[in-house]
């Protein structure tokens, strides 16, 4: 009788295991492929590129302020004997309160990009995987320590963990699909406006704006350096004179690179606006070639500017 009970118990346990295995396998199969929708992938890619553009715009402001400060210094050195030094004339080119607004706006853009990445990326899923795996391991440990007679194999544990992750992934994706399109629509106009204003700040050489100011800051450094050499050339040794003259072509080169850096920053801001518009417009599309094109332009611009700023930093 006892033998019969043991056989019946084992048979029942096998049935239960079989049922659970089949049920969990079915669930996993049904839910696989739900995690990280095309929109979420695009949003995450956009966020990475946007963060890079924000950093480069901040670099552009620093570059303008630095070049202006260098021009002030060069002019002071060239005119010290005739004009002396007036401490009140030493000011940053970009007024602090206006720069603070840009810093805040760029921080807001960066926060938006970061939050989009956090919400859209795979971190919520990997967090869930970690939690589920820990629970699964605990389950196995529990069986080994307290219920040695009842077997649960690794395959079943893995299926259970996978099922939890798949369910969680589906629920997270459902929340994203419900809310993200509306958020992207709502954010599109402010993003377009911000990028347009920041582009307007920069402008182009020959028109009022930072690009002209930067170009002229180098012109002023060159003019001051020429005056310094003309005024003091007779007092310099040949080696000293050569060193001073060598500064001139370096300034011309730096001016050319800085002009390009600001133009590329402006292009990058335009590309960022276009990429966000494409992201919002393709929110319900599975594949979005228009967005991919805009994103590749944005990434290309970001890399270009990065190289400019890196080269300028190396020469300093």
């Amino acid at each position: 009788m006892g033998g019969m009970t043991l056989i019946a118990r084992k048979s029942s346990s096998y049935r239960l295991l079989w049922f659970r295995t089949v049920a969990v396998s079915g669930l996993v199969a049904a839910l696989s492929g739900c995690v990280l929708s095309p929109l979420a992938s695009r949003t995450a890619a956009f966020s990475t590129a946007a963060t890079a553009t924000v950093t480069q715009t901040q670099n552009a402001y620093q570059l303008v302020n630095q070049a202006y400060s260098d021009a002030q210094m060069a002019t002071l050195v060239a005119t010290y004997d005739t004009s002396g030094f007036d401490a009140t004339k030493i000011k940053p080119f970009l007024p602090d309160k206006d720069l603070e607004v840009r810093t805040e706006v760029l921080a807001g853009l960066k926060q938006y990009a970061t939050m989009l990445a956090e919400v859209s990326g795979d971190k919520p899923i990997t967090d869930l995987e970690t939690q589920a795996a820990a629970a699964g391991n605990g389950l196995v440990k529990l069986e080994q320590d307290d219920f040695k007679g009842f077997k649960i194999d690794d395959r079943e544990k893995n299926l259970a963990v996978t099922a939890v992750v798949a369910i969680g992934g589906m629920l997270i994706e459902h929340e994203r699909a419900r809310a993200l399109p509306g958020i992207l629509d709502k954010m599109n106009k402010p993003i377009q406006d911000i990028c347009a204003i920041l582009q307007s700040d920069i402008g182009t050489v020959g028109k009022p704006g930072l690009a002209s100011a930067l170009h002229r800051a180098y012109d002023s450094q060159i003019a001051a350096q020429q005056k310094f050499i003309d005024d003091n050339g007779v007092h310099l040794s040949a080696a000293e004179k050569r060193t001073e003259i060598e500064v001139l072509p370096k300034l011309v080169q730096a001016q050319r690179q800085s002009d390009q850096a600001l133009a590329a920053t402006s292009n990058s801001l335009a590309a960022l606006a276009a990429a966000h518009a494409a992201l919002a417009a393709t929110k319900s599309q599975k594949d979005a070639p228009a967005f991919k094109l805009k994103l590749s332009e944005l990434v290309e611009n970001a890399q270009l500017i990065n190289n400019f700023y890196l080269s300028l930093c190396t020469k300093k």
Binding site: T5, R9, S12, S13, L16, Y68, A78, T79, F93, L94, P95, D98, V101, V105, Q111, Y112, M115, V119, D127, Q131, A132, A135, L139, L142, F147, G149, F150, A160, V164, I167, G168, L171, I172, E175, A179, I183, K186, M187, P190, Q192, D193, I194, A196, I197, L198, S200, D201, G203, G206, K207, P208, G209, A213, R216, D219, A223, K227, D230, S266, A270
Partner: protein
């Protein structure tokens, strides 16, 4: 709060004519300052004129920058509703994660019950 879109980046600037005239003056004064045929005094005077002209141009560039600040603040304010919604979504996803953590605990609990029932010969 302004709801109007800002002017396009390549829009014509009303100060452009004055800006062009100042740039011409800057070019002429720079050339005069560098002209070795001029006397030292004339070159110094030209350099002073150049410095003053550059300062006027700087002021126009700064005015463009500071003039954009109000529009930028308005655009920043317009980001707030979308940012709030994004924050809510983030909170909901975090809450889901916590709920699923509880679900994994329930899974553990269920298996424990099943194991105990199995031990009693009830399943």
């Amino acid at each position: 709060m302004s709801t109007q879109s800002p002017a396009p980046p390549d829009a014509a600037d009303p100060k452009q004519a004055a800006y062009d005239a100042l740039n011409d003056l800057l070019a002429q004064s720079t050339a005069a300052a560098n002209n070795k045929d001029n006397t030292k005094q004339a070159r110094d005077a030209a350099f002073s004129l150049r410095t003053a002209t550059a300062a006027q141009l700087d002021a126009l560039d700064q005015a463009k920058f500071t003039g954009n600040t109000v529009d930028l603040q308005a655009a920043e304010e317009a980001m707030s509703p979308g940012m709030k919604q994004l924050q809510e979504l983030q909170t909901q996803i975090e809450a889901l994660g916590n709920e699923l953590k509880e679900a994994t605990s329930i899974l553990t609990g269920i298996d424990k019950v099943i194991a105990e029932l199995g031990g009693l010969g009830l399943v």
